[in-house]
């Protein structure tokens, strides 16, 4: 008796028991469609005032996590299901980080634009009550104080980095490295209190407020950042360059000045720009030692000096009778501040990109 053997349909053992390739993408779109429809109905029925985008995304992702886990568990087994669930959760974590970034940028631009006009950049707040006025005095103050802080901290920071990389051996170098790390953790308000305590004792004036104190406070925050980034850059300079210079009989200090620094200058400038971008938005120390005023002040060494972050803070916290004018000015100041920081960041990246010496590999 002959049996006819019919070949079973060949299944690829490598793809058996696996979800199709695009399955997770489709599931994600489905979950968004479902939650979108749900919130769309709520919106159409007039229960919510506008279409709830945050709710759609949030519950959509939640639904997706549930779906992908159960589907994968049914088809692929529990280990794969867990893997897919974690993949979804990890991607979710990244989206969560994006939400505040987008929200902050969006609200700052929307609320900042109404007063982002010529008057804002050409007037101070002197004798302004209610609408009008601008932040010229604050922008000037910010530039002066941050500039002074950079003048103090760049030489100190750069020389320290050179010491750590080129000269430093033994316990002093180790101690400096450790305390530079510790210094990065000083709260900004403590730096402000330090500057205040220092100058209050020196000048014997218990209510001391002036610009240079703000610059000193910012330097305390800025020096460790400059040291750290410059140190990294100096370490990248190949030792062969130094040895070649020594072999030619160049003294050490000239080697550092003419060989090591020019090689790493792009990276160092990038680091300095980024550190300026970091301290330019500091509010707390300036609030304490530079104080606030509504008039122009070009003199770092006397009288109170307004800065942009403090301007934003005081405009928002001390609203006058015409509240909207103050709030608008605060947001316009915030927008200006973000633009300055973004500009510094972009310039820093461009310098790093274009001026890094091309080392042949």
């Amino acid at each position: 008796m002959s049996t006819t053997l019919t070949a079973a349909p060949i299944t690829n053992s490598l793809t058996a028991g696996m979800l199709p390739r695009r399955a997770s993408l489709w599931l994600l779109l489905t979950s968004f469609a479902v939650t979108g429809a749900f919130f769309g109905v709520l919106f159409a029925a007039g229960i919510t005032n506008d279409f709830n985008i945050v709710g759609t995304v949030f519950f959509g992702v939640l639904l997706f996590c549930l779906l992908i886990w159960s589907v994968s568990r049914a088809v692929e087994g529990s280990r794969k299901a867990k893997d897919r669930l974690v993949t979804a959760l990890v991607a979710l974590a990244f989206t969560i980080a994006l939400l505040p970034l987008i929200s902050v940028t969006f609200t700052t631009i929307v609320n900042g634009l109404p007063r982002f006009d010529m008057e804002f950049f050409t007037h101070s707040m002197r004798n302004v009550v209610g609408p009008g006025g601008g932040a010229l005095h604050a922008i000037t103050g910010t530039l002066l104080i941050t500039g002074a802080a950079a003048l103090i901290s760049v030489p100190i920071g750069l020389l320290t980095a050179i010491y750590l990389v080129e000269y430093g051996r033994g316990s002093l170098a180790r101690g400096i490295t450790f305390f530079v790390d510790v210094m990065t953790g000083i709260p900004s308000i403590v730096a402000g209190l330090f500057a205040f305590a220092l100058f209050a004792l020196i000048t014997n004036d218990p209510g001391i407020r002036f610009g240079i104190g703000g610059a000193v406070a910012l330097s305390v925050l800025m020096i460790p950042v400059v040291v750290r980034s410059s140190e990294e850059m100096l370490k990248l300079v190949p030792n062969e360059l130094r040895e070649a210079a020594f072999a030619l009989g160049v003294p050490k200090w000239l080697t550092v000045l003419k060989v090591v620094l020019p090689t790493s200058i792009a990276g160092i400038i990038t680091g300095i720009m980024l550190s300026i971008a970091r301290v330019i938005g500091e509010t707390a120390p300036l609030l304490i030692i530079a104080g606030f005023t509504s008039s122009m002040n070009y003199d770092l060494f006397s009288e109170r000096m307004m800065t942009l972050p403090v301007f934003v803070y005081t405009q928002y916290m001390n609203q006058g009778s015409d509240m909207q004018a103050y709030i608008d000015r605060a947001w316009a100041g915030a927008l200006t501040l973000i633009l300055i920081v973004a500009l510094l960041n972009i310039i820093a990246r461009l310098i790093a990109k274009f001026f890094t010496p091309k080392i042949a590999r």
């Binding site: 990244f94 970034l101 953790g185 308000i189 209190l193 200090w253 509010t283 803070y313 915030a334 960041n345």
Partner: protein
């Protein structure tokens, strides 16, 4: 017969070398001096506060320690809440960038997270009070309604949403970038062979991460968390703007009476302070300095110890 003993060869001392190397040593030592000066001047200016009598404080507080205790509690409580929220998210983002995202995208995604660090804290404060607090308030009302029996969510709910939980959310957002950056670096240092061995044994990607990446990165995660904690403890403006403070010690998250933090209290009261009030605020700043110093030193110690013993370098 005399043998001429050649004098030992000495490098010629050039004035340029002397000046330059001295300048670098001075600059380096200056940093230590500054750190010492911070401590000394803070101590010097806060001495009057420790012996101040009742007239220096408001609201029936009799001595400095009664004044600083609720503030210290609020500082630690807000920072701990922020850390609780930020750690899992930071680990998730770091894993996403180091092990999940497509290689080509990974670096630009890292930049995107770093952008969060570029937003000034005063802008975060503004955002927290005008966008986040009103957005979270309905959620808080629901929480109190449904889970009010749970001590953390006890009522009455704050009508503005300016509670310590909102502050903790803002703080969590602010410490995310530094924690993410550190975790990412550590995860990328995981020995490639460990990962490949796990995958070759049939582990899924998540099993590979639990077997190879996370055990290797644990000290790094801990120190990243400590550094984030240090940042959260000292953050000023966001707290000062968002929180509606009171001098209480309370664990309730959603009420309008919240313990304030040291930094925010200084920022809010310093402009109007005078006399011994200034010294009291500086003394609270000293306490904050000591807390953050301890946290940071522990974190750096963990990092440095790990550097010495890991196989990565």
């Amino acid at each position: 017969m005399t043998t001429a003993v050649a004098p030992p060869i000495k490098a010629k001392q050039r004035p340029g070398d002397r000046i330059f190397s001295t300048a670098t040593v001075v600059a380096g030592s200056l940093i230590l001096v500054v750190l010492a000066a911070v401590a000394i001047f803070l101590v010097a200016q806060s001495l009057p506060a420790f012996t101040a009598d009742e007239s220096a404080f408001k609201g029936g507080i009799t001595n400095f320690w009664d004044y600083v205790w609720p503030l210290a509690f609020g500082t630690v409580w807000a920072a701990a809440l922020a850390l609780l929220m930020a750690v899992p998210v930071a680990i998730g983002i770091a894993l996403f960038i180091s092990h999940y995202a497509p290689r080509k995208l990974a670096q630009s995604l890292g930049y995107v997270v770093d952008l969060l660090a570029a937003v000034p804290s005063v802008v975060f404060g503004l955002w927290g009070i005008t966008v986040l607090a009103p957005a979270l308030q309905p959620l808080y009302s629901q929480l109190v309604e449904w889970f009010g029996w749970f001590p953390l969510f006890a009522g009455p709910v704050s009508g503005t949403g300016r509670t310590i939980l909102t502050v903790a959310v803002v703080l969590a957002v602010m410490i995310l970038p530094i924690m993410t950056a550190l975790c990412r670096e550590v995860f990328l240092q995981t020995p490639r062979l460990h990962e490949e061995a796990a995958l070759a044994l049939g582990a899924t990607r998540w099993e590979m991460i639990t077997m190879a990446v996370l055990p290797f990165g644990r000290p790094g995660i801990i120190s990243a968390a400590m550094l984030g904690l240090g940042r959260a403890l000292g953050e000023t403006m966001a707290v000062a703007m968002v929180l509606s403070p009171a001098s209480v010690i309370s664990f309730a998250l959603l009420q309008s009476q919240n313990p304030s933090t040291i930094a925010a209290n200084i920022a809010l009261n310093f402009p109007e302070a005078h006399g011994v009030g200034v010294n009291v605020l500086i003394a609270t700043g000293l306490i904050l300095f000591l807390i953050t110093l301890a946290v940071n030193m522990v974190a750096r110690f963990v990092i440095n110890r790990r550097k010495a013993f890991s196989g990565a370098n």
